[in-house]
Symmetry: C2
Subunit: 452 residues, 2 copies
């Protein structure tokens, strides 16, 4: 067995131990991690300084962007304190495992329960920000999963130090706490990742956190289910019955409050009747004032060239590719559609099933749109930027999923558990049931009668 296979098998064995751990034991581990991180702050900062020093040379050589460099720093301001308080915040969340989601009496002495359980072993691959080591380790432990981490190479020393400190913390737990230190492990090379992506025998789910290209690479190179999303191409549709004030507020927030986020609106769809009013004109002006460049289809381009002749290069003709692009910048694609069905068709063809909004005062039109658009989030008169685990009230965010099996949309701890069926019998055999024999009861079991 290769070293990397042994590591994956250790994670699998750790995940078996984690199945029996109580919520109190998981919280005890998290608080111990917080404590040891605080105690070893100087070691961690020294590792981070080393990474920053090496990265600075890369920046000067033009091999690393300034934005990536900034994300590397965990020493500045209250960043480290924020990381620590994030750990104790996770202890306050509900345990997502051991919840009964179905209970049925099959016979008087045969009871069936569907109970949430940890998924098993997670593989997390991320870039730049070293605090992900702490955050994802704690989310994994709280949900009862073992985790294997792989960070960006610019943060190698910081990541390794953080993982070592977490392992030391787990190793120092009292003997009564069965969480092994192999519940959190780290790997460093691309070769390790290639090998791990093949080990669907030991690894249950991959959680990539990073760029589109990272996510796409992983999706195309493993049979293991991937939790996350590559593109975030969100649309906002201005219906003919839109309220102008809501539109002005929402479109500007959805595009400009954080353009680099996956939940920012990348496409503005406009009902054709709005070209006969001043609604579209005012919304376009608000975007231009906010520094946004509009990439327009023929109809909207002609309209804006006529009504906003002074907008200069803030109004441009769109190419076909602009309707399949995640700009992540002060740029928005604009398209005029005949009606709500035109908007639905465009979104289902060009969107990424992430989050799409309709702005209208007509409840029936809103319901039609929200029912027929195939996306994890369908919003009525609200900004697409609400697609976020914290804003949804999950208290934590593992990622945003565009999957259509299991977790979808912003994913909290619930996305890291699945269920198993537990059947409690008394010697029951299937051949005693059937036509002319015993009949199944199929009665729901009330929570007060659970025998778990």
């Amino acid at each position: 067995m290769s070293a990397i296979e042994q590591l994956a098998r250790d994670a699998r064995l750790a995940s078996v131990s984690l199945q029996s751990v109580t919520n109190e034991q998981k919280n005890e581990a998290l608080l111990r991690i917080k404590q040891v991180l605080a105690e070893r702050k100087n070691d961690i900062f020294a590792a981070n300084e080393l990474d920053k020093q090496l990265a600075e040379e890369q920046v000067q050589a033009g091999k690393l962007s300034n934005a990536l460099f900034k994300r590397l720093d965990i020493c500045k301001g209250d960043k480290f304190e924020t990381i620590l308080s994030g750990v104790s915040d996770i202890t306050k969340l509900d345990d997502p495992s051991k919840k009964v989601t179905m209970a049925t009496k099959l016979d008087n002495d045969l009871s069936l329960y569907r109970v949430t359980v940890p998924v098993g072993v997670l593989l997390t691959i991320f870039e730049a920000r070293p605090e992900v080591v702490v955050n994802i380790s704690c989310l994994a432990l709280k949900s009862g999963n073992a985790v294997i981490l792989k960070g960006g190479k610019e943060a190698t020393h910081t990541n390794a130090k953080l993982a070592a400190v977490i392992q030391d913390a787990l190793a120092s737990l009292p003997a009564s706490n069965p969480i092994p230190k192999t519940a959190v492990q780290i790997v460093e090379t691309r070769e390790d990742i290639s090998a791990l992506l093949d080990l669907d025998r030991y690894i249950d789910m991959v959680v990539p956190r990073g760029s589109n290209s990272l996510v796409k690479y992983i999706q195309n190179n493993t049979r293991i289910p991937v939790l996350g999303h590559a593109d975030g191409i969100c649309s906002t549709f201005l219906d003919k019955e839109v309220d102008l004030n809501k539109a002005l507020r929402i479109v500007v927030d959805a595009k400009t409050s954080y353009p680099a986020a996956c939940n920012s609106t990348e496409q503005l769809l406009v009902h054709q009747e709005l070209l006969q009013k001043d609604t579209f004109s005012k919304v376009a002006q608000a975007l231009i004032d906010a520094g946004v460049t509009l990439k327009c289809d023929a109809a909207s381009h002609a309209y804006l060239q006529h009504h906003h002749a002074g907008a200069g290069d803030k109004v441009q003709a769109a190419g076909d590719e602009d309707y399949d692009t995640e700009f992540l910048d002060h740029v928005i694609a604009v398209k005029v559609v005949a009606d709500v069905d035109g908007a639905v068709t465009h979104i289902n063809d060009h969107g990424s099933k992430h989050t799409d909004a309709i702005l209208t005062e007509n409840a029936q039109t809103a319901d039609w749109f929200m029912t027929r658009v195939d996306a994890a989030g369908c919003y009525w008169n609200a900004s697409t930027r609400f697609a976020d685990g914290f804003r949804y009230g999950f208290g934590a965010e593992v990622g945003v999923s565009t999957n259509k099996t299991h977790a979808r949309g912003p994913v909290g701890l619930d996305g890291l558990v699945i269920y198993k069926y537990r059947l409690y019998g008394n010697g029951n055999i299937t051949s005693e049931y059937g036509p002319g024999k015993k009949e199944y009861l199929h009665q729901p079991i009330a929570p007060s009668d659970y025998q778990l």
Copy 2:
């Protein structure tokens, strides 16, 4: 766009229409399908006769097994009536879509709902039994999904006829019912399947129904999520505190009541202390009496050779591969383990995460086993053969899933829906919330206050 891509896109467009369909309209479609199937019985039987005639030549040429040939026949006995009543049974099931599984007030004018919705487009690939065309089409429609079918080539004429009849039934629905006939489509060639397995843009889930090799081929050749399982290697563990009578009943039922089923027990794990009592001896004798061959590890082999010298070739030495084999026959692998942890380790290493049972009178040991075994079903004192959608009370079975994301275990209609988040606002924008600004309420919404 190729013909097959057009077909997949038609399915995708049909699935959008299906999102808006009511439960009444879905049931109307199912009953119409039942009616037209009955009306066209002669056509269907003629197609089936043609397939059987061609297949018979294959059987005589030794190119097709008799078992496969028998599955082909939908004319004999009350088979066709059973198919028809299966259709009306599905109308009686609850609509699995449009269920609210979470509802939270984010602000006084901002409400978030998590609602179940159809997955979208299903691709079902199956072998031999033509009735799957009817069954899976009806399950897909009832859950609001479009479906593309591909059956075995021995049943080409029957499958094509059944699909054509279903499409005719859908085409003859009143104009008030928006289900298009492209909601059910069929393809015939292997090349079509290769092309479809690449179209993750249009197809959301593959549901294979057939042999291990079929399922494995599909799992290895698509990025689309696959609902199902390849192997069904189920184990039954006889703990030292087992009740002999329950063991005798359960082990024989689990192994012999239908050996070709995926939920039959393939491995018998025996606590070592049972070799000092006569428990194992009696269980082994019951299996031998039922015609089962025992493939034994060294400890159990020595024991049985000593105590059951007359068993002849019903007791054999096992090879390593026998502990990773789905026999689907009157054969069982036997292994002696030191304790419950030995059983758990063996199952987690060699099982297929399908269904595993412990037989014991000790509740604590049972809980330990059921918690630590990583399988869709963990049973206490019951036969693994209970792993079945009808026995679980789902009223229908799409398949049995060993996936650890989304549906797991026997899958009914619930496995064909996923949720979407619906957010109802009043012009809300994210930049108004945060420290020093508006605070999120994150209050659960009571069902009586739902605004859906």
